[in-house]
Amino acid sequence: MGYLSLSDKDKKEMLARTGAGSIADLFCCIPEAVRLDRPLDLPAAQSELELVRTIDGIGRKNAYAGQLSFLGGGAYDHFIPTVVDYLSSRGEFVSPYTPYQPEISQGTLQVIFEYQTLICQLTGLDIANASLYDGSTGAAEAVLMAQRITNRDKVVVAASLHPQYRQVVRTYIKNLGIEAVEIGYGPDGRIDTAEIGRLVDDRTAALVFQSPNFFGVVEDVQALSGAAHAVKALSVAVVAEAVSLGLLEAPGKLGADIVTGEGQSLGLPPSFGGPYLGFMACKKEFLRQLPGRIAGQTVDKEGRRGFVLTLSTREQHIRRERATSNICTNQALCALRATIFMETLGKQGLREMAWHNAQKAAYAAGRLSAVPGVKMKFTGPVFNEFVLELPKPWAAVDAGLRAKGIVGGYGLEADYPGIGNAALVCVTELRTKDEIDRLVRALQEVVS
């Protein structure tokens, strides 16, 4: 293979220097009994051309590529300016390790510092970390963080938090004696306020909610935060659609103590669910409990500004089992892409993108809910997704739309048993009016 760089002469001379008679001698410390005595059962090596053909062939089995899609639900199809791909492909960004040697990592470190600043600006909070794995693990880390801060062992989690995020939270807390109680939603699709008083009590570490929630409905962040604070619990806002922050007021300005979520919308392709970008920001008094890496500004002896990874006494390599999290490798290159994306879209562009999403979704919601038999499931305000109630089971509607080359949305019955014939429809700035109209016509035919 072309990635090895030793000639036969090199191998011979190098072996001679090691004193070993053969390559096999280098492995003499491995007991004979366990050594593999056969070649691995793997295919023969492929040249680059063969590899490209193989992978291309596998890719062609993804029929999704030819469909007109209105899927959202935690992964969003957004415009990615060419500079994002171009600049983030540079070997100097792609191929270094974590910036443990700051003198030769100032590029990566300054990018993290800019990223942290942008996340603070988006969320309206004081400090942010350098990234977590994704939105779901961000939610789980926020729950653990809230437990450490409050010393309380119960969290109230919105049923309208992304179903997969809720599952991850449950997996994380199962062995730690933390109880998770779910809070339902009302006819407006928002958290059922009548339930808050009953469920959020003085044992509660945090009220964890998503806004816009899994139904696309924007929550009343201020009221929820107020309710959490009334019992000295934390308000944890999860944002699965980060582009919404271009338009909606920052959750931190509305009382959220921790804002975490999924940054995929900010310059990362859907890529079948990963690699994505977990972001997390909080108020500065919680700094010592924030998980993950953080970059900070400092100076060298000449007084020149530079950046370093800092506050590492929170982290596993120093604190070991008492660390705030076990996270080590994070999603640095994804954070870089998000940084380039946010700086390219900039002050006007990100707001414009968010505005287009909201407008197109509103147009689509209006047209689709005018189809006879179809209506909006919830009355609450939405950003770029909404739930449709349909006159037929989703499986039948989906099959009908699929026959017309359209993936119309995501059926909710599996994640929300009893919700009825309901599907989540997402409309981003990439969907044109023509495409939306095509969906409307197709739905009309399918449900009539």
Partner: protein
Amino acid sequence: MIKEIREPLIFEISETGKRAAELPVLDVPEKKDLLAGVPLRRELEDFPEVSETEITRHFTRLSQKNYCVDMGIYPLGSCTMKYNPKVNERLAAHPAFAASHPLAADDLVQGNLEVLKKLEGFLCEIAGMDAFTLQPAAGAHGELTGMMLIRAALEARGDARKHVLIPDSAHGTNPSSAHICGYKVREIKSNEKGTIDLASLEEAMTDEVAALMVTNPNTLGVFESDICRIAEIVHTKGGLVYMDGANMNALTGIVRPGDMGVDVMHINLHKTFSTPHGGGGPGSGPVGVKKELEPFLPVPVIAEKGGRYALDFDRPGSIGRVRAFFGNFGVIVRALCYILSLGHRGVREIAEFAVLNANYIRKSLEGDFDLKYTTASMHECVFSDKIQKAFGVTNLDISKRLIDYGLHPPTMSFPLIVPGALMIEPTETESRRDLDLFIDAMKAIAKEAKENPDILHSAPHVTYVGRLDEVAAAKFPVLRWEKKT
């Protein structure tokens, strides 16, 4: 070389009204009163405003302040910084994969599911395990998943137990991962060879111990030759063996963890299987298990029937999800490409050449630097600054001076059992020329340490910034830019 430009923060060059990207004119009727009653932003306060030209210059200049594998040897011990093949980048970005949505129905993403299933199969064969999950997003995430699997399996047997044994040479994520899984950590001392002391293990291994977490080869680059006996001791007392596969690069095609008594393990695709580190991620930490633990794997599991793939959620014993969707899929595509391009022979050559290169460095530097443990090295060797300490020179000084020679330093922060460690892992992809550049630089530095230690204390001399004040950074944290008022 042209004079280096001090690159400002993007916020410092931002000017009102500039923009680098625009969207098409809105093609639906605009509603002015949209989201009435919902608090909206007046503006994205202090968000940057720059042109595309400025964006490109900014990030290109910043990139040039980084060292990277594409430039030269990156011998960070335990990090496996090997070359990242370029075709894999191109294939991971293939629109058929990159544009595919994780909530799409199974029949629309058969190609994606085939990618996952294929890599699972390859990893099973390479590691000698019965099943793999690709959901964990990184090595530490894999450790956590693996410990949860152990806990679930022991609970199914009737007792989750309380403790986890971890050698003192282990990476810091091990104790931290065990802790998040609700276990208390007990440390096992290493013996004079740097390996697990069997007597200590036997004493510590009670019926309250759930598992031993072992890294093999360990962080000294030493193979735990007693691994079969170690596994036997753990199994006899009803415990399970977890292997941290961070150092799998020494073993591929030579020996399989599953054949030496390991019950659960993770592999770092961003180490052994060449996916780029990206300045700190994304990685991927697939977890492999033996049959007994298979029922507990995270959902969904990919089922295959007659060449068609489907997601199986009906797994009553599952620990649940550890991450939304299917893991870092783009990283998984790259790793699959790597294995396909290497083939069975190439996969074995990973270990052969990684171990040859490490031993070549070790032999070349013995005498110049102290080797605390003289046990045979696998894919990395751990020297220390003991000889140089006599001249007041530390591993930090040596590392910073290496930067002046145009090279990346080794790992210094661990293993904790070697004070002043210099942990060197060259990987299999280095050329002899690059290995010799490193060896020659280290020899020159050993000489400088004796003759001119000051030049080491003040290193690096040629970088964009000098040694940075890390104490001040932690004491007076400045963690974001703020507009001067």
